[in-house]
Amino acid sequence: MTPKKFAYFAPASLKEAIQLLRVNEDAKVLAGGQSLIALMKLRLAAPAALVDITKTGDLLSYIREGKGHLEVGALTTHDTLERSKIINKKFPILSDAASKIGDQQIRNRGTIGGSCCHADPAADLPTALTALESEFVVRGVKGKRVIPQSKFFVDTFTTSIAKDEILTEIQIPHTPPKSGSAYIKHSRREGDFAIVGVGAVVTVGPKKVCRDVRVSLGAVASTPIRAKSAERHLKGKTLDEGNIAEAAERANEEADPPSDMHGSRQYRLDMIKVFARRALNLALSRAR
């Protein structure tokens, strides 16, 4: 289908893009368009105007070292993330997640910023970024501000970005040595949205004791969430199969999953435990 009519702007700078968002009622930012254009074609979305930020002179596709964190430009594609050496080495949870999105063509165009702003609770990168306690840099008329992950995802398809702000960068705090991370997704077919998605970050201390652990869940609430109960159970304990399995049993305590054609609520609650265990074990195997 063809989208409803809209006005199209391709501003030459981010500053101009922000102005355009400010003065146009019902304008949406267009990046890779792999979620937005699909929604517009189905007429589930019909914005009056699109502001294309891919043609500004401000280059927003990069992966670089910052102060204590890695900086990922909002227009970095899933394909770039999946193939990035530095991401594979430091945050394999992100390459895991990126590699499981849609298919090759979608990964070629879809962007990390677009996925986060779209805020589908079943999307892969937001869940992975939740386990990483990432921060989101947005720019608006008054300059830039940094939104912590816990304040970024507000509800299904809803973030705390204002109408005239643009997400420009995602900052991923570095993990201590002997940390490992992983993202595992349960879906019926390759490339489908997650029935359950689980991210895990583990830091191993002396004598294989769990120094720190973070578990995130996707597709089981209105936003990605943390499985705090499981985290509390594992922290300070020896990272062995028994303790990991016990923690995974608690991973669904904060979840409030929906029932739909892909799986019932109970099925999802059960699968959270299975995939939390697998994600934790994979993350642990990568800790070095």
Partner: protein
């Protein structure tokens, strides 16, 4: 600050892009999808519309070196881009090695998905000249064949890889 010229909903937008090496200009509605620009404005009907919902990959073209689903890209987003469609594969009467391989290995039945399959195959082989079966299957994960002719498609891509690496192929 001078804002970009304010377009209205009914305004047409002029775009320039290169398709198969030739420069084109065209006038489109902002909502025109790239696949319809290629098919209806440029008359390049080799690129097919399959599902029109971003799932099937029949409309796959290579835009600035990367495969995209042209039903999931607005024509205006292709402003300044360089696009390769299935029409750009053969050199005159000579088929591209991937096309030859699909022909020789019966890599198509109805042929509807083939233009997209060929473009995804080319992208894959440019990145990975000697892919395993597994890598080929992943490389065409965005292209559906409703005849389910995947076995021969994978075989064709394997054969094409050999041809493109200059390995002698015996039938």
């Amino acid at each position: 600050m001078k804002l970009a010229k304010l377009t209205q909903k009914d305004d047409l937008v002029q775009i320039r892009c290169k398709v198969n090496g030739d420069a084109y200009t065209g006038t489109v509605e902002p909502r025109t999808l790239l696949v319809y620009f290629l098919r209806d404005v440029l008359n390049l009907t080799g690129t097919h519309v399959g599902c029109d919902t971003g799932h099937c990959g029949a409309c796959t073209v290579i835009m600035d070196g990367k495969t995209v689903k042209s039903c999931m890209v607005l024509a205006v987003q292709a402003e300044g881009a360089s696009i390769l469609t299935v029409e750009g594969l053969a050199k005159g009467e000579n088929l591209h090695p991937i096309q030859e391989a699909f022909w020789e290995n019966h890599g198509l039945q109805c042929g509807y998905c083939t233009p997209g399959m060929l473009m995804s195959s080319l992208f894959l082989l440019q990145r990975n000249p000697n892919p395993t079966d597994e890598e080929i299957r992943r490389g065409i994960d965005g292209n559906l064949c409703r005849c389910t002719g995947y076995v021969n498609i994978v075989k064709s891509i394997k054969a094409a890889a050999k041809k493109m690496r200059g390995v002698e192929v015996t039938a």
